[in-house]
Symmetry: C2
Subunit: 425 residues, 2 copies
């Protein structure tokens, strides 16, 4: 590990960390090549007078940690390299940062962007989540317990009455949030304004039964330059939250939507297409950066990602790194660092059933949204019972009871869920 | 290979092809799961009457080609699976298509999106490149020969006079296009309007010497929702082309920019961040789809991608698949299929020197932009001589001469380039 940086650096820098695999590269030379090549272009051949002017634009090698393979295992020699980029070189937006630190470099061999950190100056251009975790809790009037979300089961080809009924049944079980399916786009059967009206009516009907508030995240889709208008239409029709396929539009679209004065509802980031980036060890962008730091920086109030428990899986340590990025409060009190931004609600998703609730709360604590699709709709006693089973599972966990005993004590919905899907602890 | 599809299908479908690696999966069952799961959600449990209504929304398995490993080689069992998605399910934009066919699915194991095809109806919503290959040739008045592009060497930290001088020197050598560095963002030294004015002035000065027209692609950057205004500012200042980091903003932004009535200049797509998608065999999106089909569909007039020759490499067959996608004219005469869209200029880039020109023309023919950075600026006799060496190399190749003999016949610039970098044929 080298540390030329701490001596040489002045001014503000964003840093990027890469894992670079190469059987024989001189990683220190490679690191210097990145630091120079992606900033001033060339250095050693500059006249001395020019160097003085250019120094503030020059990238710096912060560290190079070389991992040599233990045995003769070829193909597993790598280095973790951290480079500091002077933020005078790029504008205060995520496309500029990403193109600087991983534009050309992404195509240069087996290299993955594993971490990012932001200078105070860069960060100061980002208001972050408008509501964040605490704001979403406030809207719902639920200060402490984990939240429960459910997803429509089938939506394509269904009409408004069918969607409304599906919404109502889900809501009855006591869920806090319901989201559109991310593959529901503008269509003649359920256009967004009519859909929002129908679903918000169903939410009001359910609230009469449950006494509980509910956020409905309507899917914000269509042409990029019309997204603000589309959001206005949805909100005008009563939408109290939005779902957004961030990676299909780029982080900057989210960043601008989340700070737009007319869009004063929480935005839920969907991870659609994320699997094109994070799973490879050798290429792409880590889940922590993609679904953690950048989503929060861009202002997502809630962030969905594949859980390590269910049908679409992500390793547990990557999940916890996302959680860490979404909930990190370092520097919050001083108003410095990433903690300056409100935290974002983590929403581990896919394949979740009530018997997984103990595990989810163990990994995530109570600041988590338990997100169920089949676990609600596939409940043997129906969707409303599905919601109740989840709420019972949460209550049981929070009271410190064993889920099995808590179910046996007169909670048939939880009992049926356990009978159907079991318990993992 | 199955072909239930040809019998069952009616209506219009876009298809997606995936390569899916799995040691033991039933790939046919998996294919059906994708076709149903990403469209109607569930099928077998629908009542018969409902099936009739839902059939037009149901995805179809087109083919499943299973590749069993020859020996006991684990980890290399895969299938190429093609699924047809009814285009009634999604709106006529690239985010909707990508989220449908690879949103959730991208996160589901070792799966790569290897190909896409578009229904006539879906395609009809896309005007494609406004200029395309033929339009760019027309603007430049160069109907047949390969074009030559050069890139600024160093730009960050340089002021307007320095940029203008660098531009002039490059232009003198007879290049057809000059592009901004993709990491040059709005900055106090060279803001886009001033930069465009200075560079277009240098272009005019050079034209007096060379008699040759030139396109200058200014880097379009900044907030997504301000891109149109930023483009208007650049064009107002005289920009006659734009460079755009498409993948940092999403394909839809390009799609809307390219069809915008106020943006009547060619758009050059930069591949920054593409390496986060295409290089892995197991994850992501193939180069052909990412830098070929989707760039052309979204309206890129010219598309840069890493060449197989130089410093940032891509396998030759992937390069040729991109070229194929950009130049495919199938159905052009009938106004059907992808050939309905104008073709896009392929721009294989990085590490190009004059001695590679024979190889480039062999692989790409004459409908190619030869794109040089160091090959122009690093020429022993200077940047103007660098441009001349390239033009000489092209002329030599087109005349059928051997490059070495052509250089020896009184062309010192080409000779110096060959002496410096050699020839690969």
């Amino acid at each position: 590990m080298t540390s030329e940086f701490s001596q040489a650096a002045s001014g503000a820098y964003c840093t990027a960390t890469y894992r670079l695999y190469d059987d024989k590269a001189d990683f220190h030379k490679k690191a210097t090549g990145i630091a120079v090549g992606l900033t001033v272009g060339s250095w050693t051949d500059l006249p001395e007078a020019r160097k003085a002017e250019m120094e503030r634009h020059l990238g710096r090698v912060v560290s190079v940690d070389v991992h040599e393979p233990a045995g003769a295992a070829s193909g597993e020699r790598f280095a973790d390299i951290t480079i500091a980029y002077p933020d005078v070189n790029f504008s205060r937006d995520i496309p500029a940062l990403l193109v600087t630190v991983f534009g050309k470099l992404s195509m240069d061999g087996r290299i993955k962007l594993t971490d990012l950190s932001f200078s105070g100056d860069f960060l100061s251009a980002f208001p972050g989540p408008r509501f964040g975790l605490s704001g979403v809790r406030e809207l719902l009037g639920v200060p402490e317990r984990p939240l429960l979300m459910s997803i429509f089961k089938s939506v394509i080809g269904h009409d408004l009455p069918a969607l409304k009924e599906q919404f109502y049944q889900q809501a009855l079980g006591g869920v806090d949030l319901i989201k559109d399916d991310e593959i529901l786009f503008e269509n003649p059967l359920t256009p967004i304004e009519r859909r929002v009206e129908a679903c918000m009516q169903a939410a009001a009907d359910a609230q009469k039964e449950t006494g509980q508030k509910l956020l409905y995240a309507a899917n914000l889709t269509g042409p990029t330059f019309d997204l603000v208008n589309q959001a206005r239409r949805a909100i005008g029709a009563g939408a109290n939250a939005l779902l957004f396929n961030v990676l299909a539009y780029g982080f900057d679209a989210l960043s601008e939507l989340s700070r737009h004065p007319d869009i004063r509802v929480p935005i839920m980031a969907h991870p659609a297409l994320a699997g094109a980036f994070y799973p490879s060890a050798y290429h792409g962008i880590s889940a922590q950066v993609l679904l953690g730091k950048l989503m929060r920086l861009a202002g997502a109030d809630l962030v969905l990602f594949p859980s390590p428990y269910g049908s679409v899986v992500m390793p547990r340590e990557e999940n916890l790194a996302i959680k860490e990025a979404l909930l990190d409060t370092t520097g919050a009190a001083e108003g410095t660092g990433f903690g300056r931004l409100k935290t974002s609600f983590p929403v581990p998703s896919a394949g979740i059933h009530p018997g997984l609730v103990p595990l989810i709360l163990k990994d995530f604590g109570t600041d988590v949204v338990v997100n169920a699709g089949g676990g609600v709709h596939g409940h043997p006693m129906g969707a409303a019972a599905g919601g109740r089973a989840f709420r019972q599972a949460m209550d049981g966990c929070l009271s410190g009871a064993s889920l099995r005993e808590y179910a046996a004590a007169g909670r048939p919905e939880l009992q049926a869920a356990i009978d159907a899907w079991g318990i993992r602890e």
